[in-house]
Each structure stands twice: as structure tokens, then as C-alpha cells.
Amino acid sequence: MSLKHDIEFTLNGVRKRVTVDVAMTALDMLRDVVGLTGTKYGCGEGECGACTIRVDGETRNSCLMFAVDFDGRDIVTIEGLAADPKADALREAFVEHGAVQCGFCTPGMVMQASHILDTNPNADAETIKRGIEGNLCRCTGYKKIVDAVESACCGGR
């Protein structure tokens, strides 16, 4: 039998208590236990960034975290960001600048971009490119994503 563990954490501003298998990844818990599927599985080994979430304000690949690591932490997923009016401008920038095609990398990109905006609101294009280096996109060629984030940075100025 697999070992279970009780954890308690804040998910998108709401306290949450969950019993999880100790071997379960944070990504699987979000998707399969909590039922929030905006965070995507792209590779399962921290190479693509599709599963990017915020943990205590920092961005993390949720596929590389165990679910039990959430205990006592403050977690924000794309669903939390989508409900946050402060992030409206960023999401609208993605739409307006054509930064979305198939959209599978988009939630992770938006999460990473939100972190760039929070930590470096005056980021230029080169800084943004470095900031999303860990997020792979196969459709857009990144340019319009960089444009979107840059405009949101400028918009926040």
C-alpha cells in the first residue's frame, strides 16, 4: 500500500486540506485530485514549463514538486491568476498580441510572465526572453509572447 499524508495549504487564496499519496507530484495532485486542469503536463521533468505555478510567490515546475511539498505553502495556479483582476492586463496582452496559438504552453507562459512583471516591471525584451527561457512553445516562435509581456510591462509603468 502506498503511504498517504495530510497536507494543508493555500490554493488560489482558499485554504485547502488534502490527503495525498506521498509519491504523487504536485502537478498530478492539482490536475487529478483538486481538478484544476489549467496547469499542463508537457514533459514531467522540468524541461518545458507547461506546468509552471507560483509557490510562495516564486515560479516552480509543479511536475518536479511532490504534492506533500505544498504543505504550509501559498500556491497560485493559472486559475487563480485568471480570477485576479491585477492579471487582466497580462492575459489581455497575450490575446491582443497574438501570443496564443494551440495554447498548450500558454498557462505556463502566463504564470512565468506574471512573475517577470512582479519582479521586474520594467523588463526589456532581452530580459523577458531570458525570463521565459524555461518555457517551450512550438507554435509561435516566441516573438509575439515576448511582445505581449513587454507591452504588459510597459502598461504597468
Binding site: 514533459c43 524541461e47 491568476l81 497575450f94 497574438g98 496564443v100 495554447g103 507554435c139 516562435g141 516566441y142
Partner: protein
């Protein structure tokens, strides 16, 4: 609004505007539900056991322990599905392998269980005994006399080859040699053309394995209803072809197969064929009598989804001193892998480029597609054109250099014009090719930089700058491969003048929903937000051949326009009758019927819709249209005008080559595309930029390393996709040649931007260093070796079977 209060409405066009993608807000909010996110009540989770050997006989399979594991519902092997039918382009591929595995990806058993974890645990309990067979790891080995056969003819009880009825599929009858397909095409007199040449060059080129790397991994959900009807949630790019094929594999009527496509996490051609996992998932659902979901891991995606086809290619090209091309002779050897998918048929496209990109009086083209024990190749954005262009466009530079002509002038001298009919029978009704070349060259300052770079090759410092150009021709008005290349549309307006556009054309992220809505709104004078698109359910949508051949905007666009124009005619006729005016004098603008000349509103469209609906006549505005392009099938000699329009482009690539490390940095891409007409500028730019970076990956970083049949780098750490900091500056412009058949003059463009990049990069590296590299990719190791004269130039003696 009362019409009397409404001011005059000026004519306005959506064409050429930057239209936001309709599905972008949902996607940016993480609300879009892809197949990976879907849960069907009662569904089981499935996993596949794949071969651990590259080429082997299966001696035994023991699934008893797996079947006994709690939570396991079904375990299937080939023995459990004696009715399984071969799949694939050549019907050489049984989904579950019972007697022999031919590649490391081969499916041996499958499990449906309560969870992925239980299914995974069950796989580990399955015991397979193998007897290894010799491995054919290269296409050259596959055609050696006496080479082991990948699909040997089965033997009877006496050890003699079984005699089977003609037309027995290869999966049952075998193949007496390793040759999967042959393509032979000729126009003109090659011998005479060569005799008339002042300069002839011949080189071999080697193209490598790359794969699609859709960010959303492969997945499918299959379920049967109580009457035995199959419902599939599928990522396919060709739902209507698959509906028919799945029915064939299950021996049921196609009307009993329904395919729903959830939003798709990337396609790029990877989802054009039926793959074993889809058929196996159906078998599991049939056996379990429950819905079954199967989703790949990323490693599985690398191992078991198709690749771009590796090609060995020998090209012989000639020209006169005045710069006139005389002939091209091409022999290629394609590595098919163990089974035949669409990758085998890429010569259809390759030969178009050889025969028709430039005016060439004689062309002789031969491809042999051979079986090996490698991963099997599918269709991938560009469909062989990247490989063909890589060879041709390097030879264009080499021939120009030999005769001392500027590479631009040489291209312009031989470039096609509108009105040309090529040796292959392609008719170029709109053609902005020369303008593409001159525009891209001028915007990038190609001539000056090209000369300066040569002059600076021996300057101090390790980093050398280079600039290179390459051009491309690709189908831009569909491709008549199937009996029909058409697309159907059903269009309806509701009581509030909102439109439902029901189209056969699938959305795979490329923006078809948006551009089709735009074309409809252009006719009906409505905002994009007035349109709801229904495009993902074979039970609802009319037939379409699928997302391939850069055809959707052109074919589905014309279909949508056809339906919208019928609706408009009906609306204007009704308005004219009701308001007692001449329908020819009316137009639709801003949600109103207006007098075309003055813009004066006659009636609000929504009000007219309600009047029609709730009148004595009780009419709704619903129209249908099926568009079939005026193209023809090729004959057996591969001649025929297969597309209704052709797309052109020239791309200039600038690089910095670090001669001490071999690192090639792509600094800038200047691309000019003949797109017919710009429809959605935002979407178009997105297609081009994404294609350019995909081409950059093909040229510089991506390499699926297959050694002795084993894929060595099935992960994103070792398979290098281009990341954001590496992208070049991009200067993208458009030539609007206004194609007469195209929707609002547009032509297809989806594949075009990826095609030239590797060829132009090769020319740029040569411009920088004087060294020409004939194989891809241009990794630091490969470039470092080439700069030191230590790389083996590919050599493939021109060969075809007798």
C-alpha cells in the same frame, strides 16, 4: 436601435486587419479543456507495453500476472484481437504485434485499468520472450543484396512462402524486398540538357530525424454506446478520413463512428495518420465495455509518434554560362522506418520543388523509400519540401558561384512568373516569386552584406558573419490527393443576427476559426464576436478532407464565403421585398441592411431576421456550401495541376559563426511571402514567425538521435527545441499577388515559413566561412568538424532499383 436614429454606415473591411484569435482568451485563462484534461464518467486508463528489442521474433507473451493485478480490467495482446486489420498508408502495420517486432516502439500488449498507475504496474508484470533478429539501422543497408527482410513473406507448414490471394495487405503477405515505395518522374531530355550545360555540379545531402514535439502529447478516448456505436475524442487533423478508416478496421458501418475533437495541443502534420495507440484504445474500450482514455508520456511521444523523414539525396544540376538552368537529376533514398505512414509519400511534394521552383527544361527524379528497423516517418509541416529545398538552394548558390554570377541574379533569371506551366503541369496563375526575392534581398541588404562577408572571411577574430538566401514553392490552394479536396460549410443566423458557422475545417491552433469567422463577417457586415464556430464533431460538421497541405484558409475559406454569400443574397432579397427597394442596391454593414451607395440604414439585420422568422412565411436564414477547388489529380506520371494556387517565398538568413566553437547563431531572418492577400495580419505573422523558428530548430538544434534503431534522446533535455533567447530578429513582409481563385485573393501559408530556413542557413554559413556543409543539423560539433575539414561529406551514389 431605431433605424431612423442610426447614422450612415461607411463601408469598412476586415481584410488585412489584426484580428484577435477567438479562442485566445480561454487559452490564456487556462480554461481550455484539451483531451488530456477530459474526464468521461466511468472511464478507464490505458497504457501500452512496447518492445524492448529493435527487431525480434516474439516467442511468448505471458500476461497472467498483469491480469491478476487488482484494478486491471483488460489486458490485450494480438492473440486477443484476431480480427485486427493492418493500418497505415501501405496497410503494412498491425496495431498489436504478435509474432514479430520491427522497431523499438512496437506495441505488444495493452492494459486498461482503474488508474494510470495500476496500468503502469500491470505492464511491468507482462513477460515477453524474444528471439533477436539482425537489425537494419540504415537505408543503405536495407537495399544491400541479401539484406534481411523487414516484412518477410510468411512461410507455410513446409517452410515455403505462403501463397496468398492478390491484394493481400503487406502486413499478412509480406514484402519480398525492403522497398516500401518508388517514385519516378521525368520531363525533358536529361542527356541532351546535360550535354548543353557549361557547368554541372553533383553532391549528396543528408537530412536527419526530427519530430513534431507538439506541446500537448498524443491522446485519445474511445467509448461504445449500448448499440455498439463508437465515439472517439481524438486529436486528429483529418476526422472524416479517420471516421471511414476506423470503421474499416472495426468492420462496422462508418455511420456508427463519431469523432469529436477537443482543442488540440499542436499538430504540424503529426495527426494525419491513424496510429496503433488509437486502434488499441478502441479494442480496450470494446473489451472493457467502458470508456478508455490513453495519453502518452513525453518519452513515449518521442519514441512512438512519427518523425520527419530522413533522406539521403544526390542532386546533379547544370546550367549555361549565361545563367540558364539546364537540368536537374535527383536520386533519393528515404528511410521509411519499419512501417509506412505519410512520410513515404513526401516525394509528391519534393518532386514539385525539383521540377518547378525554377524553370528547368529537364528534370529526372527518382525516390526509393525503404524499410528499416528505425522509427517510422510521418507527415510534418513542409512535407519533404525542407529536404528538397535544402539541396536545390545550395546548388543554386554553387552554380552561381561556378559561373561567376550573383546568386540573386541567377535566381531571378530562372524564377517562375505568373502564367508559366511547368514540366509537371503545375500552372502558376498568381506568382509573386520574383518580388519575394527582390524584396527580401533589399530589406536585408543582401548584395552588400554577401560581398562584405566574403571580403571579411579572413579578418581577425573567431566570429564570422554570413548571409544566405533560399526560396520556396509550395501548394497554396489545397492539394488534390484524395477523391475530393473540398470542404463543406453550414451557416445559420439566429433571431438576433448572430451567426453559427459550422465548418468541416479543424482548428489545431493555427487560427482557422478566426480567419473563417473573418471571411464570413466580411460578407455579412457583422463583428467577429457575432460568430460562433462549430468545427469539431463529425456528427454535426460537413465533410472536409482535413488540416494538411496548407489548405484550410483557401479551401474552407472559400467554402465559408460561399455559404455567407448565399445567406447575404437571401437576406438582401428579403429586405428588398419588405422595404420595397432594389436588392442590387443594398449591402450589409455594421449589423444593418444599408443602401450600398449612401450607407443609409434600411433595417437592422436582427430585426429583419425576426420579421422573417415570425412572419406568415416563417423563414430562417440557413445556407450550405461545398467548395471543391478547380485542381486536378496527377496522372501516373505525376503530371497535373494538383493545387488551385501556389505559394512562394524567399527567406534571407543571417548568421554568426564562431569558428573556435562551431556555434552558429541565427541573428536575423528576413522573409517575404507571396500569400495572395493578407487576411488576418496577426494570425499570418504568427504562422510565419512560428514556422521560421521551427525551421531554425531543424537547421541548428533539433536532432532525434537514432543509433542502431534506438532513440537516444527522447526528452526535451537532450532534444533541443529552440528557446526564447535564441530566436532571430524577424522582418516579415508580404507580397499580395491577389490570387483569382483564393478567398479574397489569399493563398495558403501554413507550411511555407519553415521550408527555406535550413537551406538559407547553409548558404549563410558558406558565405561566412567558405565552407559548405551538406548534412543537417548544423550543431556546434558538426560545424566545428566541417570548418577543420574533418567531416565526412555525405556520399550516396545515384541509385535506383532496376
Amino acid at each position: 436601435m431605431n433605424v431612423a436614429e442610426k447614422p450612415v454606415i461607411a463601408a469598412a473591411s476586415l481584410i488585412g486587419q489584426r484580428i484577435q484569435k477567438k479562442d485566445a482568451p480561454e487559452k490564456a485563462a487556462g480554461k481550455t479543456r484539451y483531451i488530456q484534461d477530459m474526464v468521461v464518467p466511468g472511464m478507464l486508463h490505458a497504457k501500452i507495453l512496447r518492445s524492448s528489442r529493435v527487431h525480434a521474433k516474439i516467442k511468448s507473451i505471458d500476461t497472467s500476472a498483469a491480469k491478476a493485478l487488482p484494478g486491471v480490467h483488460v489486458v490485450l495482446t494480438a492473440a486477443d484481437v484476431p480480427d485486427q486489420q493492418p493500418i497505415g498508408v501501405a496497410r503494412d502495420h498491425l496495431p498489436l504485434k504478435g509474432e514479430r517486432v520491427r522497431s523499438l516502439r512496437d506495441e505488444i500488449a495493452a492494459v486498461a485499468a482503474d488508474s494510470d498507475e495500476i496500468a503502469e504496474a500491470a505492464l511491468k508484470l507482462i513477460r515477453v520472450e524474444y528471439e533477436d533478429l539482425p537489425v537494419i539501422a540504415s537505408p543503405e543497408d536495407a537495399i544491400k543484396p541479401g539484406a534481411p527482410l523487414i516484412h518477410p513473406t510468411p512461410l507455410d507448414a513446409h517452410g515455403r512462402p505462403q501463397s496468398l490471394p492478390p491484394k493481400t495487405p503487406i502486413a499478412f503477405a509480406g514484402k519480398p524486398d525492403n522497398i516500401a515505395m518508388r517514385f519516378d518522374y521525368t520531363h525533358g531530355d536529361i542527356a541532351q540538357a546535360e550535354a548543353e550545360s557549361d557547368v554541372v555540379v553533383e553532391d549528396s545531402f543528408q537530412l536527419h530525424y526530427v519530430t513534431h514535439c507538439c506541446m500537448g502529447v498524443s491522446g485519445v478516448i474511445a467509448e461504445f454506446d449500448a448499440s455498439g456505436n463508437l465515439l472517439m475524442y481524438s486529436n486528429t487533423q483529418v476526422p472524416f478520413l479517420h471516421k471511414r478508416e476506423f470503421a474499416e478496421y472495426l468492420n462496422i458501418d462508418p455511420s456508427r463512428v463519431r469523432i469529436i475533437q477537443p482543442p488540440i495541443g499542436g499538430g504540424f502534420g503529426s495527426k494525419l495518420d491513424i496510429y496503433p495507440f488509437e486502434v488499441i484504445c478502441i479494442f480496450l474500450a470494446r473489451a472493457a465495455k467502458r470508456p478508455v482514455k490513453m495519453v502518452f508520456t513525453r518519452e513515449e511521444e518521442f519514441l512512438a509518434s512519427p518523425t520527419r523523414q530522413p533522406v539521403l539525396l544526390t542532386l546533379r544540376s547544370g546550367c549555361r554560362k549565361d545563367g540558364t538552368l539546364t537540368f536537374r537529376q535527383v536520386h533519393t533514398l528515404h528511410d521509411n522506418g519499419a512501417y509506412t505512414s505519410w512520410g513515404a509519400t513526401t516525394p509528391f511534394v519534393m518532386m514539385q520543388t525539383f521540377s518547378s521552383l525554377y524553370r528547368v527544361p529537364a528534370c529526372d527524379y527518382h525516390t526509393t523509400v525503404v524499410y528499416t528497423n528505425n522509427p517510422y516517418a510521418g507527415s510534418f509541416r513542409g512535407y519533404g519540401n525542407l529536404q528538397a529545398t535544402f539541396a536545390i538552394e545550395q546548388h543554386m548558390d554553387m552554380l552561381a558561384e561556378k559561373i561567376g554570377m550573383d546568386p540573386l541574379d541567377f535566381r531571378l533569371k530562372n524564377a517562375q512568373d505568373a502564367g508559366e506551366v511547368t514540366g509537371q503541369g503545375m500552372t502558376f496563375k498568381s506568382c509573386g516569386f520574383k518580388e519575394c526575392i527582390t524584396t527580401a534581398a533589399e530589406r536585408s541588404d543582401y548584395r552588400k552584406k554577401h560581398a562584405d562577408n566574403i571580403a571579411n572571411r579572413n579578418a581577425r577574430g573567431p566570429v564570422k558573419r554570413g548571409i544566405g538566401i533560399a526560396s520556396m514553392l509550395h501548394v497554396g490552394g489545397g492539394a488534390k490527393i484524395y477523391p475530393s479536396d473540398g470542404c463543406g460549410t453550414i451557416l445559420k443566423l439566429d433571431d438576433f443576427a448572430n451567426v453559427t458557422l459550422i465548418t468541416g475545417a479543424s482548428e489545431i491552433g493555427q487560427g482557422s476559426e478566426t480567419v473563417l469567422s473573418q471571411l464570413v463577417c466580411e460578407e455579412l457586415g457583422l463583428p467577429i464576436s457575432a460568430v460562433t464556430v462549430v468545427n469539431n464533431d463529425t456528427a454535426i460538421t460537413p465533410w472536409d478532407v482535413g488540416v494538411h497541405a496548407s489548405r484550410t484558409t483557401f479551401i474552407a475559406g472559400n467554402s465559408a464565403i460561399g455559404a455567407a454569400r448565399k445567406a447575404k443574397a437571401k437576406i438582401l432579397a428579403a429586405a428588398a421585398k419588405k422595404h420595397d427597394c432594389d436588392e442590387a442596391a443594398l449591402d450589409l454593414r455594421g449589423g444593418f441592411v444599408v443602401v450600398a451607395e449612401t450607407g443609409e440604414p434600411v433595417v437592422e439585420l436582427a430585426r429583419l431576421m425576426r420579421n422573417l422568422h415570425f412572419s406568415d412565411k416563417a423563414e430562417l436564414v440557413m445556407t450550405t456550401f461545398y467548395y471543391e477547388p478547380p485542381s486536378v489529380h496527377q496522372d501516373k506520371a505525376f503530371k497535373g495541376d494538383v493545387s488551385a494556387a501556389y505559394a512562394w517565398a524567399a527567406q534571407v538568413v543571417e548568421v554568426e559563426v564562431d569558428t573556435e566553437t562551431g556555434i552558429v547563431k541565427m541573428t536575423k531572418v528576413t522573409g517575404t511571402h507571396d500569400v495572395g492577400r493578407v487576411l488576418n495580419r496577426l494570425g499570418l505573422e504568427g504562422q510565419i514567425e512560428g514556422g521560421v523558428v521551427m525551421g531554425q530548430g531543424y537547421a541548428l538544434t533539433e536532432n532525434l538521435i537514432v543509433e542502431n534503431g534506438v532513440t537516444r534522446n527522447p526528452n526535451f533535455r537532450d532534444y533541443k527545441l529552440v528557446t526564447a533567447p535564441e530566436i532571430p530578429e524577424m522582418d516579415i513582409t508580404f507580397v499580395e499577388s491577389m490570387d483569382g481563385e483564393g478567398p479574397q485573393g489569399a493563398k495558403g501559408v501554413g507550411e511555407a515559413p519553415a521550408i527555406c530556413i535550413a537551406a538559407a542557413a547553409a548558404n549563410a554559413i558558406h558565405n561566412a566561412t567558405g565552407v559548405r556543409i551538406f548534412g543537417l543539423p548544423f550543431t556546434p560539433e558538426a560545424v566545428y568538424r566541417a570548418l577543420r575539414g574533418k567531416s565526412d561529406k555525405p556520399h550516396w551514389p545515384a541509385w535506383k532499383p532496376e
